[in-house]
Symmetry: C2
Subunit: 307 residues, 2 copies
């Protein structure tokens, strides 16, 4: 099934201990779409400026991503610069130029209205909610958010969370959103806000999904998938969005959404994140094969499974 | 097979958000021995003072632990006081009174000389090495250490590491020992110092074991076991030592030491740590059944295994 993703498209300047890259194509929707494209058809709703050329569009199109929903606006594309020098888990932002992204109002092309899977990337929660409400055929919505909205648009975020089936955030965001330091208790509080499942991303320690009782079938309350211990993380940018792309893309590719599918999706999320960080920007995500992805899925399985 | 454990026996004053406990029996050797006692016979070498009574000895004896090697010295037992208020992963120490532990010189009873499994708890690395060298029948040695020795007795620690088959430390200790921030690279550096396998404990995120190529058979370089997401951590004291006890105890209970045994042992380590933190001090560890342990092992498996 096709998945519709909304989010940011950006040009990034990235500095890490492994080097530096300038003006590389990035943004949450870009990483998400490329990662999801190995599993299912992806449609993107985003906004770019005059500096987004055919060569950038081609990066997505080459992977079969439908870019009809990428709106061209007058001005420059969102630009971000940051460095990971002391800590590969957290970027120090050098600059954020929202440019055309500042006034982003998602427009859903008519051709996208039959989308059954939706991923609401990290934009203002009111825009996330509006997109969800515009699409009547959606059967599963994934969503992301961040500290900025948890603090600055909490009421709108609470409304949006009632429309999201699976929320994907990190440890710090979950604790902030729930106002609770204990992770399982924080998870329960977030689940009480609406989502049927909550994926908490732990960076190099993998991810845990918490299910509401009875959601997507029955089984244990939580499930954990590992991250691969990686000798050389070249560039952590986009790892979380790639995780979401692998996770949602795999779910959308399956006949039925049940717990076993969602657990495997959690592994595929980790797999896609692990590829992304091996090279700068989206480089690794552009050139994968499904065979490489499934081989790494097996590595993840061996990393955690007893005989 | 019997396992010989050396380490500390202490009385602890513990404050956590869940309450306070005073003068409770603790110390690395105590937690280790109780946890390991569910898997195999345990012999302890430690030192206590006049304040260590029959009722304390009974806590260990009741679990079948051989306390012949616990030496009574004139003076008071090691005492520690600490609190976990802001952060359950790290104690703020209120006081450390080494007392009789300060001059601890491990004496191995003749009856213990045939021990084939050895666990060197967190004491001065020179003492750890001396104990290992005194025992000629040992076929597997596990060891622990801490920042204090990594910084203050580095040369002696390096010598000891050549005698240790499996080292169990946490993320921060591994990074400090290797002088390397990337965890897999840090692991490789530590393995090059001597151990055939390195267990890195990640607290609430579980643990990863890294194998030297060809050690304990063949297979993937790393294996991860989860920690159970626990709603209410009453008291984290002793979780790491209980982990080591479950891990080493399970290994010592098996006919053969191979990778599959070690992987299961990593799960049992997590299981024992998860029980310990449910109550203050060693309370939970005193009253378990093997049935409860194996049931939780299954929970850990379900938490991580795909169908």
């Amino acid at each position: 099934m096709s998945i519709l993703a909304i989010g940011s498209v950006a040009f990034d300047n990235i500095t890490t201990p492994a080097g530096r890259a300038e003006n590389v194509l990035g943004g949450s929707a870009t990483y998400f779409s490329l990662a999801a494209s190995y599993f299912t058809k992806v449609r993107v709703v985003a906004v770019v400026g005059d500096d987004f050329g055919a060569e950038h569009d081609h990066v997505l199109k080459k992977r079969g991503v439908d870019t009809l929903g990428i709106e061209r606006a007058a001005g420059k594309t969102f630009r971000w610069g940051g460095q990971y020098l002391e800590n590969l888990n957290e970027a120090k932002t050098d600059f954020t130029e929202l440019n055309v992204f500042e006034k982003f109002q998602p427009h859903i092309p008519a051709e996208y209205r039959d989308s059954q899977f939706l991923f609401l990337g990290n934009i203002h929660p009111a825009l996330q909610a509006a997109v969800r409400l515009e699409l009547s055929d959606v059967k599963l919505t994934g969503g992301d958010t961040m500290n900025f909205w948890i603090q600055g648009a909490n009421q709108e975020l609470r409304e949006t969370l009632r429309l999201v089936n699976i929320l994907l955030i990190n440890d710090g965001e979950a604790k902030m959103l729930a106002n609770e330091r204990n992770l399982p208790r924080a998870a329960n509080k977030v689940l009480a806000m609406g989502p049927q499942a909550l994926v908490i991303k732990h960076g190099e320690y993998g991810a845990t999904i918490f299910f509401r009782e009875g959601a997507f079938g029955f089984g244990s309350h939580a499930f954990r998938a590992p991250a691969l211990p990686i000798d050389e993380v070249k560039d952590p940018t986009g790892a979380g969005d790639s995780f979401a792309g692998g996770f949602m893309g795999y779910i959308a590719s399956q006949e039925e959404v049940n717990r076993e599918v969602i657990k495997r999706a959690l592994f595929y999320g980790g797999v896609m994140g692990s590829f992304t960080v091996e090279r700068f920007g989206t480089e690794r995500l552009q050139s994968l094969t499904r065979g490489e992805i499934d081989a790494r899925f097996q590595v993840f399985r061996e990393l955690t499974h007893l005989e």
